[in-house]
Symmetry: D2
């Protein structure tokens, strides 16, 4: 019988839902030594906390996250609240000896993130950041393909994360639903929200970036703020693009926006190497495109048979897929969180740390900060 | 607070898992008047029943389905056991006044199915057959498009359901995992397993078929039977193809096989009409392809702009999708069962019957039987 | 220096253009021992013959095809006139000792085709039928893949040829442009026009068909005839579908229509075998999709890497492509005629017959006739 | 009857072939007031000139381009020789009053290009640069869509031009075939060869760029030079990427390389605007992807029907396509040159200048030079 793992969930929004769903489902599909127990959820509004607890089956509620952290019956603090709360909560949780599962981006900036890494290290608490896309089976497969030597010497990395949901000028900023448009709460716009994902994936697949040059743009200059009811300047980046040089000698382009009409969750990457290439698009998450020029045994694909192949990543040999249904049956967005959670619990079972942790997320924060600085002064920035 | 809906689940295989998952999740996402309670699961083997109950949280187990049906604390009998058990169980359950959720195909043949329809009608019990693919949002959207008049006069229907998992000659037949290859248990091969889905979808979208001519093939003539350990003749249809005439004047082709190398869950259909066409492929379930020649208001798409559009069926305006995540985030195979269950419970809440019920499934059985008969004598068969 | 090959072209319509273009271009790209000379073109209308000669550079014109055949300075008679003229012209041309390049379908029926084969054999004249799609590089590559043993034991063949240009009821029948809708001139509708292509390709890739059952449909029952100006019954098949059994043990479906809204030149086939599968679609002619399960050396594709690959058939190693531009640069529809012509002339240079000739086309005619007969009486028909 | 237009072709390589083919074919398909006559071709080697003349039907040869320019019987000088010859030839041709059709890139640098523009203006000679991709029907259609107001306020432009043919380290540089790898002859690597196309297309569709920041990379540092037989430093850019700001307020990314394994002619662009978006990929040149959010009449696509549509750009209503075959029949790479030539001759017929001319090409040269300068010092560069 798995041991209970008592969860204290902070936040009840979109991420609160995805995480709660993961806690409820993970043991139905994965054979693990721990089983999450939905002990308590926390929101400033008692009504909202209650409704959320009812919806998901939390045993109790809190309206002050400090009280949640003080509770003896909580093992894990899950931080699903807006970005500007991560630092304070994570610091307190670590100091209270709680494990921490934190939404991305880790922090508002490198200074915060750096301290958070030091704090969790000092406290020795298991920690993970919800860069869930590493656990899209197709992306995990891309990592496997890289690790098997099927890409060879890398030349190019190319990432986009395109959406279109903020084009209308009458979308307001701020409040529970739209804090991602409010720089005071979100820290940045697409850079922290979307490019953070792209950077984390690139780091995993292609290693560290050494240098960047960037530009950002804010297409809609003013939006009504939901708290003041007044038009206020939009201070986030609506779009961000940058050029990158990787430590391994390859070069890359990155771009993110919420103004690409028709692109809804167009999180793509391509890695081109001497032996092969891979391409992924989150809008078709069941597929990984792979071009094989030469396999690790040195055999070249016959010239008349070369082509990009669409791997339907639903075989039982594919990452995570033996845990789900049968070959040919797709899983969806929510499963990336469940897979991530299964990895975290698996690490816990074995006493091994799991990536991406706060340290990985600090790296991503460094790139994000460098990108935003470069966008201000137009200079190339080295990643420290 | 939703009322409890006590579930008695028969079967612990692939479908046992998909249904159990649906019961556990449906109320987290849908606002319903009833909430399934996993009261008991039933398997002949006590060990398997216990393991299944542990995995999914059933409160109790039974090893004899008759006892399950007798239990007063059970509201719904879910039949997830092999095809040759459906008739007997459903009949007993209906006579005991239980609601019935039955896996497809409904029965081994029309004679059984006909009696089952009569029995549930007489008993007046709510019933549904798990033709889950109607609840793929993209397929529901196709139905909406038809109903909105966007196809117009229909000319062609074209369905395939292709898989490749039985090509190897050393795949055995029979037993818990491979009863689908054993004609005595499954009734037929791809016709009842896969074409039944295609026929149900066609019926929903394009109405009844009046006539068919068919051919079947069994490519591997003998396979080891898991129960006898000996090579025995394979009596199922490995592949089946038929031509159809629809009552609405359109014509169609249907084909299914488990020998289409590279096709894993290639359940496709295309409906071509005077005003527009739709195409769907279950391997890319997030997409519906739509060609619009003229809209219901009579406006033609300008000639230089006509084209097949890939609708990424993840907008909140799409069927079921407001219940799940945010636009651009896909759901997967399992959600078709949850959506179907939500519809069934919604019907229960309102006291309205829900389709596809036993009667719809009888229709599909009639087509399947006609197809198999035609494959024997090579004659066109009318659907009675 | 290549020897002159004097061409006498009969017909000035769509096929007259594609053939004339081929004659003009072939020696710019292929190194051949003969060079077509546009000696004369022939049309009943002197004005049309002149205009066509001016447009394409024919040296002279004729208005009676008998005179053209009598001319000593003509080596090749190219029959690009409507179907009901093929028999008479080809017979006369063969008897006059001319080589013959004939548009498909070869004849109005098997009786004609049979005699035509006998006549060209007796006359010993080189002959070819313009089943140009064999010379789409991607289709030639499919043939190469079959011949290399990359498909293995074949299970399924699946062909469609879908168009949508006759849906409007006010499209007339008959006359120079629309004789394909006039049964008296065309012989049949989609069966001879489109399915003939599908059958020829299937024969080439997968061998002979032994048996068929079919259905046809005429959706628009009456159309104005361009010659009478009156509404007349439409006697062609607007759509045709059939089931087939191949001599090699595989089974197949074929379908063709001019009523598939949104499909313009959707000539597709898929061949599924034990070792691999191929898929082609003429609307994307630069691609061949290939799924490799096991190569002829017995190596299986690793399970995590299996997938359909899109071969961009523009490498210099691909059929015909070393003659054209550079890798990555596509060729188009017209090049299939040029490639076919280059093969014919190459055969002439070496004194070797080239396929598909009249005999191959007779086979296709047999299947077409069997299909049309089956569509009448609903019985399976053996291909004699 | 069209008037003769006497062509003097300089260069016999890849571009010599594409242009000669265009001269031979254009009047078979377009109704024009002038008809090219292949008067003379010119190469330094007499043998090569003769062979080329034989292959394509040139009436005479020259081995000194100066003599060709002096000939009275030549109307048009076509410059298809390497980049480092363009300036001198074009200057002499213009001063001799010849019309000029020049391959791209126009010049080795802005200084040359600027003078060339002045020279042709002074001479008043019709001129065009072979940016043939504007005449891909799908790209012309994209331009039409922009001009019809279907994109609306533009936000993003995104271009890549990826190839993979120089990855192998044993590909040499220099000589007749590989001068594109020799900086002394080509001026630059992918910037002038590939990005010049991307920039020209962007300029046409989205207007001028005001500012860029760039990075280049040379992955293979040394290659054998075909003239010296020795390893020499590679001085071209193997890859180039840049960020751009457009005058219209949109922003863009551009990337080109010859090291993207699996990409052969992957010339893509996407333009995202408030009302709609378009995407194109030269590897599938028959398609233009279009997303329509709102049409110019203000009607929004219903939310459940939005999607990217693949326009198969072969309708007779599409640019150039009424001149070619029938709907559904593709054209290929070579036709872009024929379409371009038809436009040039059409301009000549009417006495109107045609774009892209030397002036447009000067603009592209300015962007290329700015990109290469930025890649050297890492600073943003304004386009003067």
């Amino acid at each position: 019988m798995p041991k209970p793992l008592n969860i204290g969930m902070i936040g009840y929004g979109f991420m609160g839902r995805t995480h709660s769903n993961a806690y409820r489902k993970v043991n139905n599909f994965f054979d693990l030594g721990h089983k999450p127990v939905l002990k308590a959820c926390c929101a400033r509004s008692e009504d909202k906390a209650k409704a959320f607890a009812d919806q998901w089956g939390y045993e109790s509620i809190e309206t002050d996250w400090r009280k949640l952290i003080e509770r003896k019956d909580i093992d894990v603090i899950d931080i699903g609240s807006p970005n500007n709360t991560h630092f304070e909560i994570a610091t307190a949780a670590a100091e209270a000896g709680k494990m921490i599962l934190c939404e991305k981006p880790l922090a508002m900036n490198v200074a915060e993130a750096q301290k958070m890494v030091e704090t969790v290290k000092k406290a020795g608490v298991p920690n993970m950041v919800w860069f869930n896309y590493r656990r899209v089976p197709a992306i995990s497969l891309a990592k496997q393909i890289v690790d098997e030597g099927r890409i060879g010497r890398p030349f190019h990395y190319r990432a986009t994360y395109l959406q279109d949901w903020t084009i209308a000028e009458d979308v307001p900023q701020g409040g529970a639903a739209l804090w991602r448009l409010d720089a005071a709460v979100a820290g940045s716009g697409v850079t922290g929200d979307l490019l953070a994902h792209s950077i984390d994936t690139a780091y995993w697949l292609n290693g560290p970036i050494t240098e960047v040059t960037a530009a950002t743009e804010t297409f809609v200059k003013e939006r009504v703020h939901q708290e003041t009811g007044k038009k206020e300047a939009v201070k986030i980046d609506d779009a961000c693009m940058f050029l990158a040089k990787f430590a391994n000698g390859s070069i890359g382009t990155f771009e993110s926006t919420r103004y690409a009409r028709g692109r809804k969750n167009y999180n793509t990457f391509e890695l081109d190497g001497e032996a092969g290439s891979v391409f992924f698009n989150l809008e078709d998450p069941q597929l990984l495109s792979f071009f094989e020029y030469r396999n690790p045994e040195g055999q070249k694909t016959p010239s008349h048979l070369t082509g990009w192949r669409d791997i339907h990543v639903t075989n039982s040999e594919h990452p995570y897929m033996d845990k789900w249904w049968v070959p040919g049956c797709t899983i969806g967005y929510e499963h990336t969180f469940i897979n991530a959670l299964a990895d975290f619990i698996g690490g816990l079972d074995k006493g091994e740390p799991v990536k991406p942790d706060f340290e990985d997320a600090l790296y991503t924060q460094k790139v994000c900060d460098a990108v935003l600085e470069s966008a201000k002064d137009g200079q190339w920035k080295k990643i420290g």
